[in-house]
């Protein structure tokens, strides 16, 4: 068994009366693609938010490389090697694609309390950023403002930014959301390329993509993990089928926070 990179212990988070995550314990192994699936409102985004540090859990612990990071602020987790992409496209819209990635590189190139020299002339920021854009396939769009990129390109850019922070673990919140078939296919290929070099936690509704990519799948329902297994075993798990085909859709109205 490979070494465990990220681990949660009885993680719990509730909003008012609504329990979003309930005593969730899961392990992510180094090098794997670990998908988290579940109906709407199952607490997937809440989980990502807690792993990345933008939400504090009510109780429980989060361990990264065997270190308790439950109370480590978000920006420091990023320095430790956790990177996150957002469910809703979250690039810096009035920055060019290249600037977006360069800024991500800058985040880990020492502190940014440099007030004088021009950031856009700093080769140590530009070069790695260009490299990543090349890898993602956005080189020809690098000078376009992010807001004028297509939706799929923005999602790619989002991934590029996450990669630019040189993460050990990538937390991807619905990277294929709102994409067409072709764009999704491209994204799947991109993620496939990352396999082996990066560990990925992936939330996705596109089941084809999930089953094509994932090494293991955790199924969340009402904030609880009802199964964690290989794609084949999940497919045949009766409880999972029930959650998805039964009353799962009834709770889609609950707003995720």
């Amino acid at each position: 068994m490979a070494e465990v990179l990220l681990k949660t212990e009885e993680l719990t988070k509730s909003f008012g009366g609504l329990v979003a995550i309930q005593e969730l314990s899961m392990e992510v192994e180094a090098g794997e693609i670990h998908a988290v699936i579940g109906p709407n409102g199952a607490g997937k985004t809440t989980l990502i938010a807690q792993l990345s540090g933008s939400l504090k859990p009510d109780s429980g612990r989060i361990l990264f490389e065997n270190r308790d990071i439950t109370h480590v602020p978000e920006y420091r987790r990023s320095a430790l090697g956790l990177a996150r992409s957002f469910q809703i496209t979250s690039v810096l819209k009035n920055f060019s694609a290249l600037d977006n990635v360069a800024l991500a590189v800058q985040a880990h190139a020492g502190h940014s309390f440099r007030f004088w020299s021009k950031a856009r002339k700093a080769q140590e920021l530009r070069e790695p950023a260009l490299e990543i854009l090349e890898k993602i396939g956005l080189t020809d769009r690098m000078d376009m403002p992010a807001s004028s990129l297509s939706h799929g390109e923005q999602r790619q850019l989002e991934l590029a930014m996450a990669l630019a922070t040189r993460p050990k673990l990538l937390l991807l919140d619905e990277p294929m959301a709102g994409m067409g078939v072709e764009e999704s296919q491209k994204m799947v290929e991109l993620l496939q390329d990352l396999k082996g070099t990066h560990t990925l936690v992936l939330i996705e509704h596109d089941m084809d993509a999930v089953f094509a990519l994932a090494d293991r799948i955790t199924v969340l329902v009402y904030g609880e993990s009802i199964a964690c297994d290989t794609p084949e075993n999940i497919r045949s798990n009766p409880e999972v089928r029930k959650a998805y085909l039964g009353d799962g859709e009834a709770i889609t109205e609950i707003e995720e926070v």
Binding site: F15, G16, E255, V257
Partner: protein, 306 residues
């Protein structure tokens, strides 16, 4: 001292419900439409002027107020349709600038129509007397009436928000704007209606303020700042928060003004107390607000969850 404390508590309460009337509309408009409306104070002024004029015309206090209320509602609706509608989609800064422009416009309009001098609106004999709230403590009847009306309006708003369909929509809108749209509500109508209601409440505050203080151009601005303080402390969009915050602000301001200098005088030299006391009292509610925001960055009762 005990009697004085009780009397001052009444004063604070009266100030508080007055602030609530102004803040109620502001917080609804803010909560539902996400609109920073600096010109809300102008509606207080418009209400006060309309009431003063209508009372004089009709010769009846009650009739004047009854006519002024729908008139203020109308002014609110017109302002909403002509100017504010286009501002909902804009960011807060555009709203601040445009509604600041509205303030200037309203102040000058009032100065042109009614002249620059302060107006005075009297009280009918029946409510200009005193009521003994406690043995030996006479209290102006009109101020008691204000407290009563304020509490009644608070109850009314509570009823509307908690019990009616309109209230349900308001709550839905305050916690999630898209959701109200998803429910198939005519959002535009709802906004206009709520704005008009808020305008009437502000106008009502102005009408009740008229007999107490002078009716003059620009009378709404200091009140507006206080109303903002109230809704920020209470949590934007929360009626309950606005009510509690208004009473807190009313009490803190009143009691602070009266007792803080006294307290300081017993602690430090009189001349120092005379300088520091009133200055500190003026700052008190801002200190309160800053303190609350430092510990609860979204106010006491944040309405929106996201």
């Amino acid at each position: 001292m005990g009697l004085l404390l009780i009397e001052q508590a009444f004063n604070g309460l009266q100030f508080g419900v007055m602030l609530f009337l102004i803040a109620a509309g502001l917080t609804l408009v803010f909560g539902i439409m996400d609109l920073v409306n600096l010109s809300h104070g102008s509606l207080v002024m418009v209400g006060a002027y309309l009431a003063t004029t209508l009372i004089e015309w009709t010769g009846s206090f009650i009739l004047g107020i009854l006519l002024a209320l729908p008139s203020t509602f109308l002014v609110g609706v017109v302002v909403e349709i002509v100017v504010l509608r286009t501002l909902y989609e804009r960011d807060h800064l555009d709203q601040v600038l445009a509604t600041f422009g509205l303030i200037l416009f309203f102040n000058e309009l009032i100065r042109i129509v009614w002249g620059p001098a302060s107006l005075y609106s009297g009280l009918p004999e029946s409510i200009s007397g005193h009521v003994e709230i406690l043995p030996g403590v006479p209290y102006p009847a009109f101020r008691l009436l204000i407290i009563l009306v304020g509490l009644l309006v608070a109850l009314l708003i509570y009823f509307i928000v908690a019990r009616t369909k309109l209230g349900m929509l308001i709550r839905a809108g305050a916690s999630n704007r898209e959701m109200a749209g998803a429910l198939g509500v005519n959002i535009r109508m709802l906004f206009t209606l709520v704005f008009g209601l808020g305008a009437s409440f502000a106008g009502l505050a102005g009408m009740m303020l008229g007999p107490l203080t002078s009716v003059e151009p620009g009378m709404g601005e200091p009140l507006l700042i206080l109303a903002f303080v109230v809704i920020i402390i209470g949590g934007i969009g929360s009626i309950r928060g606005a009510f509690i915050a208004a009473v807190i602000v009313g009490l803190v301001d009143t009691l602070g003004r009266v007792f803080l200098p006294m307290l300081l005088r017993s602690l430090v030299a009189e001349s120092t107390a005379d300088t520091v006391g009133p200055a500190l009292a003026s700052m008190l509610i801002y200190i309160l607000m800053a303190g609350i925001l430092v510990f609860r960055p979204r106010g006491l009762f944040p309405a929106r969850t996201g």
